[in-house]
Amino acid sequence: MRPDLGRITMSNFTRRGLLKTGAVAGAGLAMPTLITSPLAAYTNEPTGGSVTLGFNVPQTGPYADEGADELRAYELAVEHLNGGGDGGMMNTFSSKALKGNGILGKKVEYVTGDTQTKSDAARASAKSMIEKDGAIMITGGSSSGVAVAVQGLCQEAGVIFMAGLTHSNDTTGKDKKANGFRHFFNGYMSGAALAPVLANEYGTDRRAYHLTADYTWGWTQQESIQAATEAKGWSTVNNVLTPLATTDFSSYIAPVLNSGADVLVLNHYGGNMVNSLTNAVQFGLRDKQVNGKNFEIVVPLYSELMAKGAGENIKGILGSTNWSWTLGDDGTKAFVKAFGEKYGFPPSNAAQTVYAQTLLYADACERAGTFNPCGIAESLEGFEFDGLGNGPTLYRKEDHQCFKDVLVMKGKENPTNEYDALEIVEITPRAQVEYAPDHPMFAGGDLGQCNPGA
């Protein structure tokens, strides 16, 4: 068999040769050692004048709005990396490795896919990007379930995964992977930032009722906020899990009224949160008096798109976000300007997250001088930077989680337009939301070793 193998790679072929090749390939199946990947240093090593990134976002399903905004930001980032537009945050970024000539001199191209907010579909889409389109990095996603699934796939395939919108503790906790990095904050940080504000505004003897999206994000978000509020003296009446696909939450809201709780915590995101909050307001929860106090609703994880979807109902409701376009630093201003000029409205914090991650990835390649995932991981680990909109930021080596300030937001009473629905209550400093890498809520995982594939 071995001498025959040389014939396979011959570039000029005839019909007969083609048939023979087929036969050889078929026979080769019985000889596993012959079938090995071609010689490349790492998966999808770019050889031509361009490099392909894979943007895997939900274009259908409950998180489709977030996905659409992420895609806009990705397109903007690619434009800036290739030297188009005004450069956006590349001008304010503290690392100056990016020159606006693509990444390492190669033009940046991209492919897109639809995760459908389903682990299966997301993995299929990511796989086709890696296997068919030769993507060197996968990024995106608006659900922690999907992020965990795709992160696992990228680890196996040997490409870098920049996680996008994922807020579950597990993404950099028990499901953390050496090839995956997360720029977004997480459930623990939301709890740590939100609890002091809640205690200030609503007092320390509150009774909370939780409705929680039934998947990895909901579980860890609920656990985090419960622990943080209980530390401030609150008690927890009940925690009810709701399926992600639920659209009508009436049957979950009704029992809240008779539970003796005086705060409802909605551990919901995207379309889920819009629906559950609307249901809760329709049931008149916010006009109720329980235990002699005003009934309050809390949404631990906010986004501009959810605020827009929920309209009037979010007025006065507290929550946390990763970033807001109303921040006043230079990075934010530059990004909001570039995004606004291209699309005509301000970006969401999902958009800022994925834009920053794309720049960070490109910058890491430049500093490492290679597209090899191991080199990139090394230059991202422990990387401290500024100028991407969140103030001084650290990518921690131990768990690939990003640490930066967290915003506590509140629904505005008198919004001037539909994009101005949230106002900043407090910028929680980074020190207050930090935790040890072996914190119990993040325990049980192992980064493993970086995998360059091939």
Binding site: I8, T9, M10, S11, N12, F13, L18, T21, G22, A25, G26, G28, L29, P32, L34, I35, T36, S37, P38, Q59, T60, A64, E75, Y110, V111, T112, G113, D114, K118, S119, D120, A121, R123, A124, S125, K127, S128, E131, K132, S144, G145, V148, A149, G152, L153, Q155, E156, A157, D170, D175, D214, Y215, T216, L241, P243, L244, D446, G448, Q449, N451
Partner: protein, 399 residues
């Protein structure tokens, strides 16, 4: 074997050749050309073709032969996947024990669900299976979270026991394999501008598809298959002859459930993750679509239908506006934008729309599915050429 006609043997040979040469056939366009977007010859999609082919072939044994329309086959697919992943976690990364367990567990599930559902026929049977599938989905999604890991999906982790493999040390997750052959291994053959990918996982799936196809062919041509067809034609008359038809339908149901279990097990073997959405009713509906689109009751139809739907899902959904603009960039700007604006609704996230329209066209103009189209074409050209050898068989459907 003497029950097979010449046409049958040709069909089987056709399937073998097509599946073995799929990496060539599905990759007709050179790398880097504008048409490369339509290439389907990459491992993940080829594996899906074969796996959903098995699923549809199995479904066809039930629906095509007995006429019982099950709306719950995705449940067996999901059960198969979960069983396989548990085997990877507990026993070994070798796919053989995983596949064996998934077929057995899916068979047991099918026996229970079939025993109850088959007390009714027609629409009531369909609704019963749908109800069972939705129950399984809900169980997997929330109630049985410790076994299924809910929405996140069941995955292998570094600290699983894996008794036969002796566990895994620190470092990277192990990969699924068959006695040392890793499923993900791919050999790339560069011929000029083309790059053909030969993937171990695909060929494993393809061999299972051929075996599954051969088995279904034997069932179609057996006395058992004839009995199933009698049930489809007129069950009441069959009952009046004093024959109890239920054991036959139950057997068909369990066999087709085991096929689905095998498909689920293979899916997990190619990519060790099992998610609850695999069991959702939309997934069950997809199987029905595949079979009807390809041609229910024909041997080859379901495989074609499965390939058709998976092709749309994976290729059309990835064409975005950017790609459209590059295609039509030779046109004047206004016209280009107009065309892109129209096509925008049919590609990317709009792929369902394209598929839906094609499905309608097929159902209206080719009620027998793609196979009817193929037969019509063959009949027309066969006659024109006057090919005496094959025509008598060619005009009769492959059924």
């Amino acid at each position: 074997m003497n029950t097979f006609s010449k046409a049958d043997k040709n069909t089987l040979l056709f399937v073998i050749i097509i599946t073995m040469l799929a990496p060539f056939i599905l990759n007709p366009f050179p790398e880097g050309s504008a048409m490369a977007q339509f290439n389907a010859g990459y491992p993940d999609l080829m594996q899906r073709f074969a796996i959903f082919g098995i699923l549809a072939v199995g479904f066809n044994i039930l629906f095509g032969l007995t006429g019982y329309l099950s709306f719950g086959h995705a449940a067996f697919l999901g059960v198969g996947s979960y069983s396989a992943v548990w085997m990877f976690k507990l026993l070994s990364m070798n796919i053989i024990p995983a596949l064996i367990l998934s077929v057995i567990i899916a068979g047991v599930f099918a026996l229970v669900i079939g025993f109850i559902s088959l007390r009714r026929s027609g629409i009531y049977f369909s609704i019963l299976t749908l109800a069972f599938a939705q129950m399984s989905f809900s169980l997997a999604y929330s109630v049985l979270t410790p076994i299924t890991n809910g929405e996140t999906g069941l995955q292998i982790t570094l600290n699983d026991p894996r008794i036969l493999d002796g566990g895994t040390g620190a470092g990277n997750l192990p990969v699924t394999g068959l006695f040392g052959m890793e499923m993900r291994n791919t050999f790339t053959l560069d011929v000029g501008a083309w790059a053909f990918q030969f993937n171990v996982g695909y060929y494993v799936c393809a061999i299972f598809l051929i075996l599954a196809f051969y088995l279904s062919m034997r069932i179609f041509r057996s006395p058992f298959g004839l009995m199933l067809r009698a049930i489809k034609t007129n069950q009441t008359r069959l009952n009046y002859t004093g024959l109890n038809s239920r054991p036959y339908t139950l057997a068909a149901f369990v066999i087709s459930g085991m096929y689905a279990g095998l498909a689920g097990g293979l899916m997990a073997s190619m990519d060790p993750l099992a998610g609850a959405e695999r069991m959702q009713w939309t997934a069950s509906g997809e199987i029905v679509l595949m079979t009807i689109l390809g041609g229910a009751g024909t041997l080859l139809g379901p495989v074609l239908g499965a390939g058709f739907i998976k092709y749309f899902e994976n290729i059309f959904s990835k064409i975005n506006d950017n790609v459209l603009h590059t295609w039509f960039s030779f046109m004047p700007d206004g016209l280009e934008n107009a065309i892109v604006w129209v096509l925008h609704f049919f590609v990317g996230k709009g792929w369902h729309l394209t598929l839906g329209m094609l499905f309608m066209l097929v159902v209206i103009f080719l009620p027998g599915g793609l196979m009817e189209g193929a037969d019509r074409i063959r009949a027309r050209f066969g006659r024109n050429k006057g090919d005496g050898d094959d025509t008598p068989n060619a005009t009769t459907p492959a059924e």
